[in-house]
Amino acid sequence: MPETIPDDSVGIVETQIIHFSEPLTLECGKTLSEYDIAYETYGELNADASNAILICHALSGDQHAAGYNSMEDRKPGWWESAIGPGKPIDTNTFFVVSINNLGGCKGSTGPNTINPETGKYWGPDFPIVTVKDWILCQHRFMHALNIEKWCAMIGGSLGGMQVLQWTIDYPDLLDHAIVIAAAPKLSAQNIAFNEVARQSIMSDPDFCEGYYLEKSTVPRRGLMLARMLGHITYLSDDSMRDKFGRELREGKLNFGFDVDFQVESYLRYQGSSFVDRFDANTYLLMTKVLDYFDPAGDFDDDLAKALQKTSAKFMVISFTSDWRFAPERSQEIVKALLQAEKPVSYVEVEASQGHDAFLIPIPHYMNVFGSHMRNIARDLPAREVGNKAEVAS
């Protein structure tokens, strides 16, 4: 827990919820008659609502991107490294909004919430959502906050994919798209990893065909395995070597099948702590969201064509040791943007941390990101930059 809140943190924040009663028809054909979206905000919306930024979360993320929900929190939000006063996503300048996407498990309507029609948990009956559904939902959400367009949308991994989809679905309603460690669609290998994760969850006897909440149980082992597998793909060979090497937990081999090496202990810890904070059905859902993502699919598999109408300026960032969504995948996005003659900068950050690098404050990454965001801030309507006194005068 933080004894004191650091100066560059947004401090104590509270999750808020907006209830939507207008039905939402999803890509799969099913309709949600009503739903909740949980979100957090940091910083202040300016007078003409031109400084709003949407943060899009990744596979296991949620709305709690920065700050602390209470003084008892052990850790701050998942993107504390980039969001806060004086940080690249500067909350002194921008109104930062972070939401929990539909199907999530942190307050937005999802498998672990009650289906109003049955009075029971949605569980496995929650419809399969897609990135496009999320964008539709985020668009309604934006209007609910009385914001006409986002000044920027920023996301890493699956978050970056949402940014990309928004520029296609609402080409005029975004000024700056920042797509980090993402891909234009998943590869067979990516889908394969997701399938193993799903199988580990679904083959856990406690999964109960997805109705585990009704039976007051949790597929702990399955979800833990899924997370352990995921975690391996978030790190690089080098970063694992640096972090653990072949270090032994007890200083000797035990000639058994329990933990010998530190890396095993680490993965078990990551897996088991994940179970306490995440819902297995949501995990299944999120992996499907990833697998189905293919924005070029509606445009003859031509991403450049898909991006033709967007008026957003792009920054695409990748990390050299990321093998989950390798730099080559980001380059595909860049190439499409160049073909569509869109403004884009591409930064390939030298990093040893693998896919996780996008959450780590690597100096070159933070410099470029920060300088780009400061430029965006400078281009906001003049009277909105700086302190409010200027507006009054």
């Binding site: 920054m315 403004p343 884009v344 591409y346 390939e348 430029n375 009277r383």
Partner: protein, 223 residues
């Protein structure tokens, strides 16, 4: 900066302020003169983005820069240049389709590339015209050092020793023109500068290969 100015004016004044007090390097100033307003430009090895920023603000040019150094990429982003972090060989092939630019520029980089001839071909695949600048290895100061002292020249424009120079393919004006002729490339404009005299004297015009320190060429495929 005017507080009540429109967003556009403000954006312009912000970007224009990037150059205040900064003289453009002599070769960049000449390139800027050669480029038609409103054209589309690709700058290979765009460095800190000075040329592209100048062209954007003074010539209304749009385009992209290719740059590998992280520090330079940061500088470009700071100047609001569209910069793609990539090396020249891979970057050109991977990202750019045929005939997508009016000009492809490569300033002070040709001599440090692995295959200058292939790169020049690539420039003309992607762009209508190419512009290159390079240090002239036949400048008298280089000739003197080689002829009289018997050493590899070290000059203001070629500051490295033979063992640590990035310049693996140095050439002279004559060499470059022979290469162009062989590849069916038409030279549209040529000039030489030395750092202090910019475009230089009538003597430099008369003996460019002897007196020019930096060569600047604009060229296109023979038509």
């Amino acid at each position: 900066m005017s507080q009540q100015g429109s967003q556009h004016e403000r954006a312009m004044s912000v970007s224009a302020s990037t150059y205040t007090g900064e003289a453009l390097r002599a070769d960049l100033a000449i390139i800027a003169e050669w480029i038609k307003p409103d054209s589309k430009v690709l700058d290979l090895g765009c460095g800190d983005g000075t040329l592209l920023a100048y062209l954007r603000d003074e010539r209304n040019v749009t385009g992209y820069g290719l740059e590998i150094s992280p520090f330079n990429v940061e500088e470009c982003v700071d100047k609001q240049i569209n910069v793609i972090q990539a090396n020249l060989n891979d970057g050109l092939k991977a990202y750019f389709v045929d005939n997508s630019f009016d000009y492809v520029i490569m300033s002070q980089t040709l001599q440090a590339t692995e295959q200058p001839d292939a790169l020049i071909e690539e420039m003309l695949r992607v762009g209508d015209e190419g512009i290159v600048t390079f240090p002239n290895f036949a400048h008298w100061s280089a000739r003197v050092q080689l002829a009289l002292q018997g050493i590899m020249p070290v000059t203001k424009n070629l500051p490295n020793q033979w063992f640590n120079t990035p310049n693996v393919h140095l050439c002279t004006l004559n060499d470059f023109e022979v290469l162009c002729a062989r590849h069916g490339i038409e030279i549209l404009q040529r000039t030489v500068v030395d750092r202090s005299h910019r475009k230089g004297s009538w003597l430099m015009k008369l003996f460019p290969n002897l007196l020019g320190e930096i060569a600047i060429y604009r060229f296109r495929r023979n038509r």
